[in-house]
């Protein structure tokens, strides 16, 4: 035996279980994370059981349980549990040493009793009790010293952030095997990568599905036997959008959409841009700190609330001052509502663009003796122009896509006649879709009305897509400029 090999053999790995785990990070977060994990697992099991109509046969339960037990026993040797290991948690005992195998078993039994056995056996599997048990466990963590869960008190353990494994300090000659990371950490790394990849693909699939579903149904509409392009353009006094009577006059909806979008931008453009210039060029930091959240709040107002505002205030209290014969529902009121909705969007994107203009440019202009208005209008505004135009395009795209304000405030549910006057009832593409979709069952029954929904959707999708791509391109160009 070579001397080298002898050194090799003497190298001792610390016995598992004797490893000291440091005292830091004994936080309630770890215990809370564990509870959240088990809550999630329980929910998952319940959902699978419910939607799959129960686990077929008790044997499948048993197989699952045995697999989980074996898995757990393996994890116990490393003082952790399968799910805790996944988020890199481990368990220590009172003396801050990795919990022994027996203690792990005790802890798991205690946890199983509190979270599962009690609710099932004693309280007859009542959902409220399940929820209460998890909530109580989570709450107790907050009050327990060192952030421990009830089962930790029973087993005398604490959950801490864990290590990959014990260190492998070698004293002999360096060997290739010393330059390998231990299997556990590697497995964790690979498992995380797989899970994340899974999520990534989920996101990608959803994205592709939307495009595919909308496109394929729209295609069905166009290729349907009942469909002819002339249907889309019924001439004469019956011109209008009445899908339930098979009148599909697209221009009717386009006129409505154009009015609403136009009115909205007449309001949101100047107001949004003005607010943005004020915020970026004039407002003191203190004012900004107050005004910004207010604008963000306006941005978060749900559109149904704005629709309510339009029929309860804009129409009766504002528009009647200017138009004698305006009804309670009108395209004009809807357009103003959509405009209010679009203000914060235009304001925030424009402000970003204005603030992206380098300070030096402003200083250079001030250095030449310019006034604030000159700097704002002649220096900053032109420099931010592309960003501001992107803001307007995004605003337009948002206004075109807005549904509920129009569905509430513009009237015309069920259908609408071709109408150029914005003080009358009307419909936009989106509002027409909403009224079509609201009674889906009937729609599905009557000819190609259902597909017309998808045709409109595809149209909307295309319009907004083009606008977004366009604004994206502009933004990218203006990013390159600085």
């Amino acid at each position: 035996m070579s001397p080298e090999l002898e050194v090799e053999l003497k190298r001792s790995a610390p016995a598992p279980g004797a490893m000291a785990i440091p005292s830091l990070s004994r936080r309630g977060w770890n215990a809370a994370l564990e509870i959240a994990l088990y809550c999630f697992i329980t929910m998952l099991v319940a959902i699978v059981e419910f939607y799959a109509g129960g686990f077929p046969g008790p044997s499948n339960w048993l197989i699952g349980l045995v697999i989980y037990a074996l898995w757990s026993l393996n994890a116990f040797r490393r003082s952790t549990t399968p799910s805790a290991a996944f988020v890199q948690l481990a368990v220590v005992d009172e003396s801050n040493v990795a919990a022994s195998f027996g203690r792990m078993v005790l802890r798991t039994v205690a946890r199983g009793t509190v979270l599962y056995a009690l609710p099932i056996l004693v309280f007859a599997n009542n959902q409220i009790v399940w929820i209460a048990m998890f909530a109580a466990a989570a709450a107790s963590v907050a009050f327990m010293e060192r952030g421990r869960a009830p089962w930790d008190l029973i087993a005398g353990t604490t959950m801490v952030e864990s290590y990959g494994s014990e260190a492998t300090e070698s004293t002999g000659p360096l060997r290739l095997s010393d330059l390998r990371v231990d299997g556990l950490r590697q497995r964790q790394n690979q498992r995380a990568a797989r899970m994340l990849q899974f999520a990534g693909w989920g996101a990608i699939i959803v994205s592709l599905l939307i495009v595919w579903v909308v496109a394929s149904e729209a295609f069905t509409f166009i290729t349907d036997d009942d469909f002819s392009w002339s249907l889309l353009n019924v001439e004469g006094d019956r011109r209008g959008w009445f899908p339930r009577r098979n009148f599909y006059d697209i221009p009717t909806l386009l006129v409505g959409t154009l009015w609403v979008t136009g009115i909205a931008m007449v309001i949101a453009g100047p107001v949004g841009l003005g607010a943005a210039i004020y915020l970026s060029e004039y407002a003191k930091p203190k004012v900004r700190r107050i005004v910004k959240p207010v604008i963000e709040t306006l941005a978060s107002v749900p559109s149904v609330v704005i629709g309510m505002f339009a029929i309860f205030f804009i129409s009766p209290s504002v528009l009647t001052l200017f138009f004698d014969d305006i009804g309670s529902f009108s395209v004009l009121a809807a357009g103003i509502g959509v405009g209010i909705l679009t203000i914060p969007l235009v304001a925030s994107i424009s402000e970003d663009a204005l603030r992206a203009v380098p300070m030096e440019l402003r200083q250079a202009a001030y250095g030449l003796g310019s006034r604030k208005i000159t700097v704002a209008l002649r220096v900053v505004f032109p420099a931010a122009l592309s960003g501001i135009s992107a803001a307007f395009i995004v605003g337009i795209s948002r206004a075109i896509g807005e549904t509920m304000v129009v569905a509430i405030a513009a009237g015309g549910s069920g259908g609408t006649l071709f109408e150029l006057n914005p003080t009358e009832d009307g419909q936009t593409i989106t509002a027409a879709m909403a009224s079509l979709g609201a009674g889906t069952d009937q729609v599905a029954g009557s000819g190609i009305a259902f597909q017309s929904l998808y045709f409109l959707g595809a149209m909307l999708f295309l319009i907004t897509l083009i606008l977004n791509v366009f604004s994206d391109a502009i933004v990218r160009r203006f990013r390159e400029a600085y």
Binding site: Q127, Q188, A192, A193, L196, A199, W201, G202, A203, I204, S207, L209, I210, V213, V214, E217, I267, G272, L273, A275, Y278, Y282, P293, V294, I295, T297, S300, V301, P302, S303, V304, V305, I306, G307, M308, F309, I311, F312, F313, S328, I373, A376, L377, S397, G401, T403, I408, S413, T430, A434, G437, A438, T440, Y454, G457, L460, F461, N468, V469, D472
Partner: protein, 307 residues
């Protein structure tokens, strides 16, 4: 000499009056802000005054009553319950997938042509009108998967909203991850951390403020949306919940707060206007609260990281 000095002094004197155009411009900008503020204020006042009959008479009864044909008994409890369930389901699906997907796209996918395509797709989907997501939900969750979801049910609505907020979650998470300085990553790798350890212990904690803000905002968005669930088939009229278990309820009829507001506005305003306004007050409270939480959280966590 003296003449020059006085002339100079004269020139340097601050003359507010001379800058009239500047003053007017400033006034116009303030006016723009005022319009924004005034409309928010008017909206809140409208909601409060219009709902006063209900707010003063039976505020709790309104919140905790079911739908009814009788305006004196009708309430929004089913809508609140539906909105909570929709928010819960959509968060449960959209957060893991969205945050995980964003991490994957940022940290693993590299800069291939395919990942750039996905980027463009996700960014554009965030701008797609919400009602189009309703079509997606109608075709997939209601019709194709109707056997599992129960058709026009909460679960269909929740999954639809999950699709709706997914791009938002992905984009905000990506931005938050991108803002983590690469030096921190290098530091992590330099000590001998695996990629997952770097992500878990370095990247995610640093990106947490941005991610949390994005997720809370997306919940607020899901709560306020009516168009997609309208298409998916939220009930706009009167319905009875009956005695169903929690999971059975996920497969049954549902409504939501914004949906109920829409339904109330379709009724005669004299009798039902107060209901629409009252429900608006309720939803405003929820959404503004969520929003404030997001703003507060961002400020606080930012501060904590800077300290």
């Amino acid at each position: 000499m003296v003449a020059i000095t006085t002339e100079l002094r004269d020139q340097l004197r601050l003359r507010r009056s001379a800058d009239t155009s500047g003053q007017i411009f400033r006034g116009l900008l303030m006016l723009a802000l005022l319009v924004a503020f005034a409309s928010l204020l008017a909206m809140i006042l409208t909601a409060l005054t219009r709902s006063w009959p209900i707010l003063s008479d039976r505020p709790l009864d309104f919140l905790f009553s079911n739908t009814s044909q009788n305006p004196d008994e009708a309430g929004v409890f089913q809508g609140i319950k539906g909105s909570v369930m929709l928010a819960a389901i959509s968060s449960l699906v959209a957060f893991p997938v969205g945050i995980g997907g964003a991490i994957y796209l940022e940290e693993y996918a590299g800069d291939s042509r395919f990942s750039r395509l996905v980027q463009v797709l996700v960014r554009n989907l965030a701008g797609v009108p919400s009602i189009v997501y309703g079509l997606l939900g109608l075709a997939i969750f209601v019709q194709n998967l109707g056997g599992i979801t129960g058709g026009r049910s909460v679960i269909s609505g929740g999954l639809t909203l999950a699709c709706l907020v997914l791009p938002v979650v992905i984009i905000t998470t990506q931005e938050a991850i991108r803002a983590v300085p690469s030096e921190l990553r290098q530091a992590g790798y330099g000590i001998g951390a695996t990629q997952w350890e770097v992500i878990r212990s370095v990247v995610l904690p640093s990106a947490a403020p941005g991610i949390l803000t994005g997720t809370v905002l997306s919940v607020a968005r899901a709560v306020g949306e009516a168009a997609p669930i309208l298409v998916v088939g939220a009930v706009s009229g009167f319905f009875q919940t009956g005695t169903l278990s929690f999971l059975e309820q996920t497969q049954s009829f549902f409504t939501a707060l914004p949906m109920q507001i829409f339904a109330f506005t379709k009724q005669p305003a004299q009798t039902w206007g107060a209901h629409a306004a009252g429900a608006s007050v309720a939803i405003l409270l929820v959404v503004v609260a969520l929003n404030s939480v997001a703003i507060w959280m961002r400020a606080r966590l930012d501060q904590k990281l800077r300290k």
